[in-house]
């Protein structure tokens, strides 16, 4: 894992003291709320419905056991005993007191964490494939590049006051687990036949009230030009992006209004001007940072684990857990384990301090002290031996953390919604709980198979509902909560925006509507392995719309 150097440490420590001073000046009255708001937002501090909320960056979704224990301690000391993992691989604390936030940031700095650029109109914390470094289909580990981008973008003087926020996601695998096509910049690390490493560069994706899938600006950008090219994109956006209307200020709107070719030509012209200059990435620096992300020493093991097989034969619950929550690893005899934060009836993405500590312990004992946060709001032990799966599962069962639903209907992506968020129009969490309870039966959930349900409580689409196979959007209809469905979306390499499934539903009918969609899929699929999206693409909207017409509204 990446370890801060002296410069990183000084930078983060200085930022803590700067914010401590800003909070003191706010509390003394020297700063008004209007003056303080942009300063607190630059440090991840929001004022939500019930309290301040602190959003802490987990760069590229990678955590150590030590860091996770610190998050647990903060949850216990400064919150109500839990934290909330988000779709951007961050953690949010819902109940901190403003006067304590500088101390929280100081605690975070001790374990090389911070809340810098988790909010505000700047380049936000960079997200990555949660299986980076572990997945068998990965070509190159994207995290060294994410770290390079983090260093380049941290308080970048030119890009600290952009027209609007700017999100970058990166993957090094052909299977897109990082939703790169719905980010302002989506990068895929690729390797050419001649062995040269570079990037496919996607630009202008985004959801919210105007959803767009990204345009591909470059099929292959050589590694050494990463920063110059990204800087050129940001510079063109900063210059031409709209500042007159916050709803039209993202780069996707610039791409849409000015046209792909115009933006590409501007970016290429700026890139030509600045390439081969100070931003050229020296191969030695890339190698130095990449070494910090080296795979832990995983002992060679046989591909099959007799211990795992025996446990599967003896315990159907373990067998189900392996089928859903365990994915293959690039090293034989190893696996990545998803710890679902979607217990049936629980709050999606929430983890108690005790749960975080248990996961930290398991990571230390079985997984080389490494944990990942996925944009699907789950935790992952990326590097474990298959022989250890029975013990890991038993410990998770004892802690109530063994829900075998990764990727299934009840593994929803869910924003905090109107229960917490000042922007929301409708609640998300109760809807997610209803759906999870409806599909709680493991046998039925397994029969249905992978199906992603994404629930946003407003048009800002934090839960990515447009790219859910089943997307649910909460709206306010004459003072009442109301939920609209979109179908057929995907955030993967086959990215697609969902189609509206017609008029919406009151809260108590949403689970019925989802059930109807699922039944329609099961009735139309040609075989159990035909995915929802494959069926959807074959039969289209009509049968779903027809079936939904019979759900009460």
């Amino acid at each position: 894992m990446y370890v801060y150097d002296a410069l990183d440490r000084r930078f983060v420590a200085a930022r803590v003291e700067q914010f401590r001073d800003q909070v003191a000046r706010r509390l003394s009255g020297e700063l008004s709320e209007e003056q303080f708001r942009p300063l607190r937002l630059m440090n991840g501090v929001y004022l939500q419905l019930h309290s301040y909320m602190l959003r802490v960056a987990i760069p590229y979704g990678t955590l150590s056991s030590r860091q996770l224990r610190t998050l647990a301690r903060i949850a216990r000391t400064h919150d109500k005993g839990y934290g909330h993992f988000t779709t951007r691989q961050n953690i949010q604390f819902n109940w901190p007191s403003l006067e304590m936030i500088p101390d929280i940031l100081a605690e975070l700095a001790e374990v090389e964490m911070h809340a810098i650029q988790t909010s505000g109109n700047c380049i936000r914390s960079i997200t990555a494939d949660h299986l980076a470094g572990a997945a068998p289909d990965e070509v190159v580990d994207p995290r060294p590049y994410a770290e390079i981008l983090r260093q380049w973008s941290s308080v970048h003087p030119e890009f600290s006051w952009l027209p609007r926020k700017f999100k970058i996601a990166i993957t090094g695998a052909p299977q897109d687990r990082a939703a790169i096509r719905v980010h302002d910049i989506g990068l895929q690390v690729v390797k050419r036949d001649d062995g040269e490493v570079g990037f496919t560069v996607h630009v202008g994706g985004g959801l919210g009230r105007s959803p767009f899938l990204a345009w591909t600006l470059r099929d292959f950008l050589p590694e050494k030009h990463l920063l110059a090219y990204v800087e050129a994109i940001l510079r063109v956006y900063n210059l031409y992006g709209r500042r007159d209307n916050k709803y039209k200020a993202r780069i996707k709107i610039l791409m849409h209004e000015a046209g792909f070719a115009t933006v590409r030509d501007e970016v290429e012209a700026e890139f030509e001007r600045i390439r081969d200059g100070a931003l050229e990435l020296p191969a030695a620096d890339v190698a130095r940072i990449a070494r910090q992300f080296a795979l832990p020493p995983l002992a060679a093991r046989p591909a099959a684990s007799p211990r795992e097989d025996a446990a599967k034969a003896a315990d159907p619950a373990f067998a189900r857990f392996v089928a859903t929550n365990v994915t293959p690893h690039k090293v034989a005899g190893h696996a990545s384990v998803t710890i679902s934060l979607k217990p049936i009836g629980g709050v999606p993405g929430d983890a108690t301090a005790e749960a975080m500590e248990l996961v930290a312990d398991l990571a230390e004992r079985y997984g080389h002290g490494e944990i990942r946060v996925s944009h699907r709001q789950n935790l992952i032990l990326p590097h474990v031996a298959r022989d250890d799966l029975p013990e890991i599962h038993a410990a998770l069962v004892a802690a109530g953390l063994a829900t075998a639903n990764a990727g299934l209907v009840s593994d929803t992506i869910t924003c905090p919604g109107l229960d917490f968020c000042a922007l929301a129009n409708a609640r998300s969490i109760p809807v997610a709980k209803d759906i999870a309870r409806r599909f709680a039966d493991p046998a039925r959930a397994a029969e249905i198979g992978p199906l992603d349900v994404k629930i946003s409580g407003c048009i800002n689409a934090c839960a990515h509902h447009h790219v859910g196979a089943i997307g649910i959007l909460g709206v306010d209809r004459k003072g009442e909560e109301f939920y609209q469905l979109t179908l057929g979306g995907s955030s993967g390499e086959d990215a697609a925006l969902g189609d509206s499934a017609g008029p919406g539903f009151p809260p108590e009918r949403v689970a019925d509507a989802v059930e109807t969609v699922v039944s329609t899929y099961l009735a139309h699929r040609t075989a159990p392995h035909e995915t929802f999206l494959a069926t959807w693409r074959r039969v289209g909207l009509a049968p779903f719309k027809e079936a939904l017409a019979h759900v009460g509204r």
Partner: protein
């Protein structure tokens, strides 16, 4: 009828203005006001903004129900009562005067 609400500066908690002009966490303590009195109460709240007790005071529509006053909008009902579905819902709310 309306009540006046804000968030407390130091910890962000939701507070309501009572009949004596104090800020309380309990919605039940809020003073229910007619339009003219609401305008005056919001105006007076500016003093408490300047005094660094609260941020962003505003008026909320409420209606009388058999169970007492309740905000008309879902958003304000959730602000008044706390999250309906969060992990902490079972936990007691602490009351602390501003």
């Amino acid at each position: 009828m309306q009540v006046v609400t804000a968030n407390r500066l130091i910890d962000g908690r939701v507070v309501f203005r009572d009949a004596a002009g104090r800020w309380c966490e309990a919605f039940a303590a809020a003073a229910a006001l007619e339009a003219a009195a609401t305008t005056q109460a919001v105006a007076e709240s500016a003093r408490d903004v300047a005094a660094r007790l609260i941020v962003d005071p505003y008026a909320v529509d409420v209606v009388a129900t058999p169970a007492g006053l309740t905000p008309t909008s879902m958003r304000e009902r959730i602000r008044a009562g706390g999250p309906t579905s969060g992990s902490e819902v079972a936990a007691p709310r602490l009351d602390r005067a501003a």
